[in-house]
C-alpha cells in the first residue's frame, strides 16, 4: 500500500467519499431526506431500494445532475461542491447510466472522444484515443475494439464502452445505475468480473440495484433507502436476502407465494411442432410442441433470445407460423389475426409493456379498454360509452391497486410498476381462459413483482391455463407447475416442478441434457 495511491489508470484514488445529510425536494415529493452515504476505495457499496426510493436522485446529486437542498459532500475528508457533471468528472467520479449515453452511428473511439478537447486542436486525435482505449482495456481486462461501431455491439459490450469512457475521463469512483437491468445472466457475470477487478485495483464502486441476489453476490456493504430515507447500512456478509427485502419494502415479504392446490384440467393451449422465423431471418422456433392445461402454470425458462419472444408472438397471432399448428381450447388458431385470437379469451402480457402493452398518450381509462373497446358496455353501435369506460377504469384501479392521480392521467406519467398493473388489470379482468405472460415482472420492484405473481396464481386458481415466459429462474421455480426449457428455438425438456432444481434447469438452458 506504499506507492499505490495511484490506480492502474494512472489516476489517484478516492480514498473516501461521504455524503452527509442530503435532502432533496421536488414539488410534492421528498426525494431524499437527511441521507448519509459513504464509499471507500476498494469496495462495492450497494444502494438498494424499490423504484422511487430515492436511489437515482441521491446518485444524480453526487454526479452533479441535481443540487441538494441541504447537506454536504466530502471527498477524502474535504468538502467539495459539485454543481455539474463536469465538476464530478474533474473530481474523478464517473457514472454509468441505466440507459447508455452512446451515439449508435459512431465508433467506440469516437464515442469516448466525444465532448473532450482534442490534443491536436481542431483536428481529431482518434489514433491517440484508440491507443489509450487499448491500454485501459488491457489494464482492466475489457475486451473492446476501438474501431467498432456502437450499433454492432451487444448490450454488454456497449456497457463496457461506457465503463471505458468513464475510466478514460479518469474516474476513480464509479456509480453504476442498475447496470444489470439490461444484461443477460452471462453478461452480468462478466460485468461482475470486471467490477471485482476494479475494486481490487483500488476503485470505489457504487452499485444501484433492486435485485437482491446481485447485491449479495457483489457488494461489501449495502445501504437501503426507502421513501427517500436511509433505513440503514450493513456489511453484506452480515445480512440475509430476507432482511434486506424486509428493509426495502418495510414489511415481511413472502418469497414463496402460497400456490394452493388446484385441479389440473383439460388442455387449453396446444402447440404442435410449431416452426417460425425470427426478426433476424434465422429460424425462431424449430418445431415446438407444448400443451398447457387449465389450472396450470407452465413456466418457459431459457436464456434470453432463444425463441421466447417468437413463442409468445406465434401463439398470439403476431408472428406468422410457417409450420405446425396452434390449438386454443381444441380449435385451431394457427395464423389467425391477433384480434380473432384475443376474442377467444386469450390474454397476453407482452414483454415490452411500454411498446406493446400501452398507449403512452392515452389515459389510464382509455388503456384499460384497449382490447375490449368495441364491446359492451364500453361501446355500442360504434359509439363509446364514457360512463361504462369510466366505471370500468375506477373498478380496476381499485381492484388492482393502481397508483394514479386519476383515471384521466396519461399512462406515460405512471411508474413502471403501475403501468404493468394497468396491463395486468386489462388482461386479467376479461376472465381469460389462457394467459401468455412474457417477463411479467421484469424491471418491477419487489412490491409490484409480488403483486403480479399473486395475480397470476389467483387466475390459476380460477382455472386459467397460464404460460409464464421468464428469464428469472426464481420466478419460474416459485410459480410453475411444470417447467419447459427452451434452447435455440426448441424445447429441451419439460420437467415437473417437484424434480426441477436450478442446477438441472441451468444445464438444460445451456443446451445440455443432464
Amino acid at each position: 500500500m506504499t506507492e499505490s495511491n495511484k490506480l492502474p489508470s494512472g489516476r489517484s484514488r478516492i480514498d473516501s467519499l461521504e455524503m452527509r445529510g442530503i435532502t432533496k425536494r421536488f414539488p410534492g415529493v421528498l426525494a431524499n431526506y437527511k441521507v448519509d452515504f459513504d464509499v471507500k476505495s476498494g469496495e462495492v457499496h450497494a444502494l438498494l431500494g424499490v423504484n422511487g426510493a430515492g436511489k437515482s436522485t441521491l446518485m444524480k446529486i453526487l454526479y452533479g445532475l441535481y443540487h441538494p437542498d441541504e447537506g454536504e459532500i466530502l471527498l477524502n475528508g474535504k468538502p467539495v461542491t459539485i454543481s455539474s457533471p463536469k465538476d464530478s468528472i474533474h473530481l474523478g467520479i464517473g457514472m454509468i447510466h441505466q440507459h447508455f449515453m452512446l451515439v449508435q452511428t459512431l465508433t467506440v473511439a469516437e464515442n469516448v472522444a466525444l465532448g473532450l478537447p482534442s490534443s491536436r486542436g481542431a483536428l481529431t486525435d482518434l489514433d491517440r484515443v484508440s491507443k489509450r482505449i487499448l491500454e485501459l482495456a488491457d489494464i482492466y481486462n475489457l475486451k473492446i475494439d476501438p474501431s467498432a461501431y456502437i450499433w454492432q455491439l451487444s448490450v454488454g459490450q456497449q456497457q463496457r464502452v461506457e465503463i471505458i469512457k468513464a475510466l478514460y475521463r479518469g474516474a476513480a469512483l464509479l456509480i453504476l445505475d442498475e447496470p444489470t437491468a439490461v444484461l443477460t445472466p452471462q453478461e452480468v457475470d462478466e460485468l461482475f468480473v470486471i467490477m471485482r477487478q476494479m475494486v481490487k485495483d483500488g476503485h470505489a464502486l457504487i452499485f444501484i440495484s433492486h435485485k437482491l441476489h446481485e447485491v449479495v453476490e457483489i457488494s461489501h456493504r449495502v445501504t437501503v433507502l426507502r421513501d427517500g430515507r436511509k433505513i440503514g447500512t450493513r456489511l453484506t456478509s452480515e445480512t440475509t436476502k430476507q432482511d434486506l427485502a424486509n428493509w426495502m419494502v418495510g414489511r415481511e415479504v413472502g418469497f414463496v407465494p402460497d400456490r394452493g392446490k388446484v385441479e389440473i384440467g383439460e388442455i387449453r393451449l396446444k402447440l404442435e411442432r410449431v416452426v417460425c422465423g425470427s426478426d433476424r431471418g434465422t429460424p425462431g422456433l424449430r418445431g415446438v410442441s407444448l400443451d398447457v392445461h387449465s389450472g396450470e402454470i407452465l413456466g418457459v425458462a431459457g436464456v434470453s433470445g432463444n425463441g421466447q419472444r417468437e413463442l409468445a408472438e406465434t401463439i398470439t397471432g403476431l408472428r406468422k407460423v410457417t409450420g405446425g399448428k396452434v390449438f386454443l381450447e381444441g380449435k385451431e388458431i394457427t395464423n389467425l389475426a391477433p384480434g380473432e385470437i384475443t376474442d377467444r379469451m386469450l390474454s397476453y402480457i407482452p414483454e415490452e409493456r411500454m411498446r406493446d402493452g400501452m398507449i403512452k398518450d392515452f389515459t389510464v381509462a382509455e388503456n384499460m379498454i384497449l382490447r375490449e373497446h368495441h364491446k359492451l358496455p364500453y361501446s355500442r353501435y360504434g359509439f363509446l360509452n364514457l360512463r361504462g369506460i369510466s366505471k370500468h377504469a375506477d373498478d380496476l384501479i381499485k381492484q388492482f391497486r393502481v397508483k394514479t392521480p386519476s383515471q384521466e392521467t396519461h399512462a406515460k406519467n405512471l411508474s413502471g410498476g403501475n403501468i404493468q398493473k394497468v396491463v395486468l388489470a386489462r388482461e386479467i379482468s376479461r376472465n381469460p381462459h389462457v394467459i401468455i405472460a412474457a417477463q411479467p415482472t421484469r424491471g418491477l420492484d419487489i412490491g409490484a413483482t409480488e403483486y403480479v405473481r399473486e395475480q397470476l396464481l389467483v387466475e390459476r386458481r380460477k382455472g386459467a391455463a397460464i404460460m409464464l415466459i421468464s428469464e428469472d429462474l426464481d420466478e419460474i421455480l416459485a410459480l410453475s407447475d411444470r417447467i419447459a426449457v427452451i434452447y435455440e428455438g426448441q424445447i429441451m425438456d419439460i420437467v415437473p416442478r417437484a424434480t426441477a432444481t436450478p442446477e438441472k434447469l441451468g444445464l438444460l438452458m445451456a443446451g445440455v441434457h443432464p
Binding site: S56, G232, G339, S379
Partner: protein
Amino acid sequence: MDDAPSYGYLSVAVIRSLQVESVLHEVMAATMKKVFESEWVSRLIDGLLPVFATLAALLVGAVMLLFLKVNPIEAYKALWVGAFGTSNAFAETLVKATPLLLVGLGICISFRGDVINIGGEGQMIIGAIVATWVGLTFTTLPGWLVITLAMLAGFAGGAVWGGIPGVLKAYFRVNEILSTVMMNAIAVQLMNFLLRGPMIDPAQAELASKIPQTARLLEIFRLPRLIPTRLHLGALIAVILAVLVYILLWRTTLGYRIRAVGQNPHASRYAGIKVPRYIVLALLLSGAFSGLAGATQVFGVNYRMITDGSASGFTGSAGFNGIVAALFGQLHPIWSIPASILFGALLVGANSMQRVVQVPSALVIALNGLVVVFVVSSEIWRQKRQRRRLSVARQDGDSPPPADEQPVPHTEAGT
C-alpha cells in the same frame, strides 16, 4: 444602517414593511407557484400560447412595416377593419375561413392517426371537379337534391384521392408525405386538362382567350346565403362538421382506433386492431373533408370551377393553409374553428391593409409566414415545457403521489 434617531423610526418602519413584504412575497410566490403548477392553469397557458405567438409575430411584422416607412398602428388598424370592421368584412373573413376549417378538420383526423396528409390541394381539386360535374350534369333535378348530391360527390372524390396514398402507405409502405404531394400534381394537371378541354365553359370554347373555367352553375344550385353578404351555408356546415369530427375522434370506436394506431401501432396491433385499415381510413377521411372544401368553394363562392393553371389558382392555397389552421388549433376540431377564422382574417385583412397603407403584397405573405413560424416554435416550446413538467412530477420514474396518499411530510424526523 444609519442609527441616527431621526432615521431610526423610519428604518424600523422600512424593515418592518420589508419583513411584511417578504412574508407577503413568500406567500405570493407560494401561491403563484401553486397556481402555475396546477393542471388547468398550465392548460390555459398552453391554450393561449398561439395567441401570444400571433401577437409576437405581429410585433416583428411591425418592425418590417417601420422599415417600409409605414405606420404599423395604421396598417394593423386597416388589417383589423378589413377583417372585422363591417359585417361585410367579417362575412368575407368567414368565407375565407370555411375551406380552411374543412381542410383542417381532415387534418385533425389524419394527424391524430399519425398520417401526414399534405395532399389537401389535390383533394380539394378532385372534390370540386366531381361536384361541379354533378352540378352541370343533373340540371333537371331539384336544387336541394343536386346540392346534396354534389356535396356528397365532393366528399367521395376527396376520399378517393386521399384513400389512394392511404392504401399505398398501409399496404406498400409508401411514404404518405411524398405520395400526397405527388397526388397534388396529378390533380392539378387533371384539372387543367378538364377545364381546358372536356369541361370547358362552352362560351369560352368559342372565344380565343379560352380561360380555363367551367360553365356557370344554375342559380338554384348555389349554396344558400346566410345573411345578405357572401357568407354561405358552407360555413355553417363546416362548424357542424367540426362538432361531428370531435365526436368521431373522442366518442366513437372508429376515432379511438385511429388515435390508438396513430399513437402506438404496436400496442394497437397487439390489442387486435387492424392497423393498416385505420391508416387508410385516416387518410381517406382526411381527403374527404378537403374534397368537401373544394365542393363548397364551387357551390358557395365561385359558382363555377376556375383556375389560372396552378393549384392555388383554384384553391387559394387553402389545402396548405388548412394544415396550419389545424396545427394552430392544436389538432382539435373545435379549436380549429377560431384558428381558421384567424387565418381567414389575416387573408382578408391583409388585402385591405395593402390597399389602405400601400404595402407590397409580399409583406402580407411574409406576415402570414411569421405567424406560422411563431406558432410552430411556440408549439415546440409548449411540448418541452410539458416534458419538463412531467419529468418533475415523475421524479426519477416514480409515480406522482396519488390523490388519497399524501407525500412524505417534510417536517417528520428522519429514519
